[in-house]
Amino acid sequence: MTYGSMLVSIGLALALALPALLDGVERKLKAAIQSRIGPPIHQTVLDLLKLFRKELVLPRESMHILYMAFIYLSLSIVAVGSLIASITLGSMELFIASAILLSIIQAIHVAMPFTTYNPFSIVGASRELVLAVINESALLITIGLAILVNPLMSPPLIWRSTYFLLLLELLIASYIASGRTPYDIAEAEPEIASGWLIEFSGPLLGIIIYANLLRKAIVKLVVGIVLAGLITGNGSMGLLLSLIAMALLWVAYTVVSTIVGRSRVDVAPKTMILMHTTFITLLIITYVLGV
């Protein structure tokens, strides 16, 4: 076993174990901002374990949901793994592969509730679809631009404004992709009663929640990796910095989501399109001008 693959294994193990604990930290922090005690940090782990102990109840004619859930989970794990490997080994190809995997994961994430026979599910899924189409496109474009801007994942000699804009746009896109207020419209709107999550229960819900946590980790890892690539380069330091950045971003996103309210389904797309086109245009302009 080479040094690199050992690092990748350790990194993968951390990246798979951390999201559940970070979710616990998120809940604790949210509670602190709301002046209450909140659940203990390992609560999400306990919740997932409890869900896996329950009986499986599937909505009618929905065996396909079970298959999709497993694919969702396995692809998420693979995406996490390839992200970890990309920064540890300095492989841009793996990074591109992770980006592609991310879009497939997003597609399955929308498809699962869409094919459930529940009006709330379908309403939630259609809202998720609208948000996902806009945001994922922006995220993929920005990742593409990141690859263009820093193809070797090594720190540049001088910091151009392109890098700052790149990180900013990535932050925005990844925040929206992580499904938090103000853009948790698909799930948390009270009138659609949990939206896309509504028909899932028991172990199926456990799988989906965990895969969802991994998705949150993936979008933050992407930002962390681009940042690590610009600061320390690839290798063990890059891996460390990416993981630390993921954890810090998780905390920062929590604070932001607690202090704002939820947006509305007709206003949210307009706001997103406006933000993304502005920043991506600025990004391209500064890159072309070499500023």
Partner: protein, 177 residues
């Protein structure tokens, strides 16, 4: 009074509010519950003082207090905690002050018979027709406080009516007068 609302605060000021207030969760049941001294919990009936008059039974809105007769010459005052709404009206109306209010509210149990409290009184029997009508203690209570009733306090209401009607008849020579 200076209570104007400024609509220009930044959402971040929430963090300062939360910081200054800390955590307000009560760790009940590992901590004392948040309760004042005025809290109304369940009642306690003092056996030695209760006279079985039934004033509390009449006042109780949900019928948590009931006065039940039995064939063995006893009247039972039954307090069913499950129906009690802790209004303490019974305490208001008790003539002898036999009921005391407590601050207990942790009364959940998995056996409903825990929630019944029984107070058994001896029934008084009418001296004329021997049918039960009140409790011995109540008769004694009325008799000691109001000696003018001694002529009829040991009779039940029906016999009292008959005696009264007879007295009128004897006085006025008949009712049709």
């Amino acid at each position: 009074m200076g209570l104007e609302m400024k609509a220009k605060k930044s959402p971040l000021s929430l963090l300062t509010i939360a910081g200054s207030k800390g955590r307000v969760t009560q760790r009940y049941p590992f901590e004392e519950p948040l309760m004042t001294n005025e809290f109304r919990g369940k009642i306690e009936i003092d056996e030695s003082k209760c006279i079985g008059c039934g004033a509390c039974v009449n006042a109780c809105p949900p019928n948590a207090l009931e006065l039940l007769s039995s064939s063995s010459g006893t009247k039972t005052l039954r307090y069913f905690i499950g129906r009690c709404i802790y209004c303490w009206r019974c305490i208001d109306v008790c003539p002898v002050g036999a009921i005391k209010g407590t601050r207990e509210f942790e009364l959940a149990t998995d056996d409903v018979s825990d929630l019944y409290e029984l107070l058994i009184h001896e029934e008084a029997k009418c001296s004329v027709c021997n049918s039960p009508y009140a409790t011995v203690r109540m008769v004694r209570y009325v008799a000691t406080r109001s000696p003018s009733t001694e002529g009829y306090v040991s009779m039940d209401p029906k016999c009292r009516q008959e005696k009264f009607v007879k007295a009128i008849e004897m006085r006025f020579g008949g009712l049709s007068a």
